[in-house]
């Protein structure tokens, strides 16, 4: 509108472009850091989850740092002078901009959603595919009907028990063969628990009255932590078990040896602490449900050995 021709703001544009390039590089670098923040990946689902998370981290870094750099810019360069009480230039809106920043995020999140649905499908094929069965009439039907499940996982307040009905073995340490899709049949005898092995990146609520089959393909030998991930009462935090992933031969060997061992009380941190409280060796607090007695198993295993994730 004024007569002086506006010069095209080349320096600003170049600066912006440079900043965007830097930002993109930084975001990509952040995305690549993801494996360092996560536990080792030990299941076939884990690399897919990690890949998705790395992608999201890169996008998130770009958005977050982008927004924050605008904030830093205005705080540094758009400050009012000390005694300046005048108003700034009144710009009330710009429809083109509004459309831009509606459409771009929309496309972006739909892209992420599309990518995620792909990952979901793929994990569904190789990983969990949880089937929920009608209420298991009782856990007394142990091993009687195992639709797809090779291992029966029984969650209690507060211990985990793993039964291998074919081999006739029970344990408080979960053994799994490497590189084979294993079905776990999750059942709870009291409240909702959560079956969560961070190294597998898989989690499933264990719901009383339902029998849920979870398929897992471990891909890395080692000892991992199984944690209860759904708050289940007083000793929720102590309701952990170890998962041992080993070669098929070692797994079969373990089953064979275990089946010959006599039954003995399995691991239950909760029962141990509760007994200490009853005998006065440990202070107690509010009233609590008493822990279920430790399950009788062939192999208690360990939950104190160093674990890989």
């Amino acid at each position: 509108m004024t007569s002086t021709p506006q010069r095209f703001p080349w320096p600003r544009l170049i600066g912006l472009a440079l900043w965007l390039v830097l930002l993109t590089l930084f975001s990509l670098w952040m995305g690549a850091q993801v494996p360092r923040w996560l536990p080792v990946s030990a299941s076939s689902a884990a690399p897919l989850v990690d890949g998705l998370f790395g992608f999201e981290t890169a996008v998130a870094t770009f958005v977050f740092v982008g927004v924050v750099s605008v904030m830093v810019w205005v705080v540094l360069f758009n400050r009012a002078e000390k005694y300046d009480i005048s108003d700034a230039e009144p710009i009330e809106g710009n429809t083109a901009l509004e459309i831009t920043w509606t459409v771009i995020p929309l496309v972006l999140v739909m892209g992420i959603a599309f990518y995620t649905i792909q990952v979901n499908r793929e994990i569904g094929l190789i990983g969990p595919m949880d089937h929920s069965h009608a209420p298991a009439s009782a856990s007394s039907a142990a091993g009687a009907s195992m639709p797809g499940g090779e291992v029966q996982v029984i969650a209690r307040q507060w211990s985990w028990e793993f039964r291998y009905p074919v081999a006739g073995v029970s344990s408080t340490e979960l053994h799994m063969p490497i590189d084979r899709r294993l079905g776990l049949q999750l059942e709870s005898e009291d409240v909702i628990h959560g079956f969560y092995v961070p190294a597998f990146r898989l989690k499933q609520q264990v719901i009383p009255g339902r029998s849920i089959t979870l398929f897992i393909t471990p891909t890395r030998a080692g000892r991992y932590r199984l944690r209860d991930s759904e708050y289940s009462g007083t000793w929720f935090a102590a309701n952990q078990a170890d998962v041992v992933v080993e070669s098929e031969e070692a797994y079969q060997d373990w089953l064979r040896r275990a089946s010959r061992l006599p039954l003995q009380p399995g691991l239950s941190e909760a029962s141990r602490e509760y007994a200490q409280q009853l005998s006065g060796d440990r202070p107690s607090g509010y009233a609590t449900i008493a822990p279920a007695p430790p399950p009788l198993v062939n192999v208690p295993g360990s939950n104190t050995l160093p674990h890989d994730g």
Partner: protein, 563 residues
């Protein structure tokens, strides 16, 4: 300054005591029906419970500073985290926001009071009542509720001592009363906004805070009854032995999760929407620019209301919901990023090229926006099913929502308190103390809640009273941040009390802000504009446009200056 003792003479004329009038502090302890008194009652009550909830949080962080369960017994820890969540939500953040609603909505739309002043007072007085019930639950045999603020059955139905009056029952009672109080408040706010606007104050000229309050209260009206219904069934299961959720009688524990999250996810928007409103009010004032794209910012609130009601299953991805449900609810959850993004970009565009004044209120708003954007990007991660399956129920989620509820919402509430403090107390606050409060809060928040993200990624479940030693490093940092947050409250309270008692007198419009509330004297008289309700003639936030907001603005301003 001819009138007595510098007090607005209209205050002395007022039929009943009002804020700012000398020597009537007793009104704050009475069944007062003035929205401005009720607003302050809400805020002060909420700040008291912020201290209680914060104290519980610091004991929790004291326990978590070492891996073993050694500071308190596990049962005590479980009760602490349950009560921390319950108190912070139902006794701090909802009441404090209702306090802001009470102070701001009538003044901003030019109404003399709320539509139903007695209902308003009754809704407030329920807050201390259920607060006492909740506190009393610490004293009943068996201790307070300890099944988390979700209170998922069957664990919440386990009643170790078998008493009819137990912590869980009192908890449900308190939450139900809170729900009734909130519904009473919501009916009041919505009616007030719909029916009591000043002449010329069309919906399209309404300040964004009122838009967001209207949106948030609509969510309350739709969502809360569902939670109430779910809670009634829970109470029956607990106290009478019915089988809504008990699996042994054919009940479905997952059903409760649907009821719970149908309300409790939208509840997050009930909390954050008014804070969006606060940001939208403050950025134009302190950047001296109009709000960028007012109609889009207002409309985005309504879109968020609609979407917020169809996303709840994203809290239940690992609960055994079918794959199609996971996909659908992931997409709806993702969509919320769009209206939210519209708001964030609008604020950035408002700040861009402005003339920023970084006083305490503005610093808190900027800090809140910073934290909110961080929470937003982690929110997108949580929406995607496979990532959520890994981090669900871990500290990643805890970090995410504390960034929302403390980092963004509570800092936004602080911003609002500082910004409107002069208006409703008639005194200026001390900038130095305010900035110290901001610094401690901002550093403390990030120190406390950032470490929770790596912890969650590593696989540390939330709600644990003990943890494996590999999580120790980040937990120590988080605990230090929590203690810093505890310290940060001290300059805040010091500032509030000392400023109100002896802070410099505030003019009617200390920030040169545009809005009906800033035409009123500080503090406003009982019926706000009384017989002289102005006629609004232009859109809000006309900074730099030279447009007057109301008819005869000069006369009004001159007349108000005379007092």
């Amino acid at each position: 300054m001819t009138s007595t003792a510098g007090v607005d003479t209209r205050i002395l004329k007022a039929p009943h005591p009002v804020p700012g009038a000398p020597d009537n502090w007793k009104r704050f302890f009475s069944f007062n029906t003035d929205a401005k008194v009720i607003g302050i009652q809400y805020i002060v009550t909420a700040l008291f419970f912020l201290l209680v909830g914060g104290l519980l949080a610091m004991i929790m962080r004291g326990e978590l500073i070492t891996p073993e369960a050694d500071l308190v017994d596990r049962t005590v820890y479980n009760a602490l985290y349950t009560m921390h969540g319950t108190i912070m939500l139902f006794l701090f953040i909802f009441p404090v926001l209702n306090g802001l609603n009470n102070l701001l909505i009538p003044c901003m739309i030019g109404a003399p009071d709320m539509a139903f002043p007695k209902l308003n007072a009754a809704a407030f007085w329920m807050v201390p009542v259920f607060g006492v019930i909740l506190m009393a639950s610490f004293l009943v045999p068996g201790g307070p509720a300890s099944s988390g603020w979700w209170s998922y059955p069957p664990v919440s139905l386990q009643n170790p001592l078998g008493h009819l009056i137990n912590g869980e029952a009192l908890w449900i009672l308190a939450v139900a009363l809170s729900g009734i109080s909130s519904i009473m408040g919501a009916v009041n706010f919505v009616t007030t906004i719909l029916r009591m606007r000043a002449p010329g104050m069309t919906l399209g000229r309404m300040p964004i805070f009122c838009w967001t309050a209207l949106s948030a209260q609509t969510i309350q009206l739709i969502g809360l009854p569902a939670l109430t219904g779910g809670a009634v069934m829970l109470l029956f299961d607990l106290a009478v032995g019915t089988s809504f959720y008990r699996p042994e009688g054919g009940g479905d524990p997952v059903l409760y999760q649907h009821f719970f999250w149908f309300y409790s996810h939208p509840a997050v928007y009930v909390i954050i929407l008014p804070v969006f409103g606060v940001f939208s009010e403050l950025f134009p004032v302190y950047a001296r620019k109009p709000l960028f794209g007012y109609p889009f910012v207002a409309g985005a609130s309504l879109v968020i209301v609609g979407l917020s009601l169809i996303v709840w299953v994203h809290h239940m991805f690992p609960s055994g919901v079918p794959q199609w449900m996971r996909d659908v609810f992931m997409v709806t959850t993702m969509l919320i990023a769009v209206p939210t993004g519209i708001k964030v970009f609008a604020w950035l565009a408002t700040l861009w090229g402005g003339k920023l004044r970084l006083n305490t209120a503005m610093l808190f708003a900027l800090g809140g926006l910073f934290n909110f954007v961080f929470a937003g990007v982690t929110g997108i991660m949580l929406a995607t099913v496979p990532v959520d399956i890994h981090v669900n129920n871990t500290y990643f989620v805890v970090g995410h929502f504390h960034y929302v509820i403390y980092g963004a919402a509570t800092m936004g509430v602080y911003a609002a308190i500082y910004h409107w403090f002069p208006k409703f107390t008639g005194h200026m606050y001390y900038e130095g103390l305010g900035k110290l409060h901001f610094l401690l809060t901002f550093v403390g928040t990030n120190l406390n809640f950032f470490p929770m993200h790596p912890l969650g990624l590593m696989g540390m479940p939330r709600r644990v009273s003990s943890y494996d030693p590999e999580f120790a490093f980040w937990n120590v940092i988080a605990s230090l941040g929590a203690f810093l947050l505890g310290v940060s409250i001290i300059p805040f309270l010091l500032n509030l009390v000392s400023s109100w008692v002896r802070g410099p007198k505030s003019p009617a419009n200390p920030w040169k802000a545009i809005g009906l509330e800033w035409l009123l004297p500080s503090p406003p008289p009982a019926e706000n504009f009384e017989d002289h309700v102005p006629t609004v003639i232009s859109a809000p936030y006309g900074y730099g446009t030279g447009r007057p907001l109301v008819e005869h603005q000069d006369e009004i301003e001159r007349a108000l200056l005379k007092t």
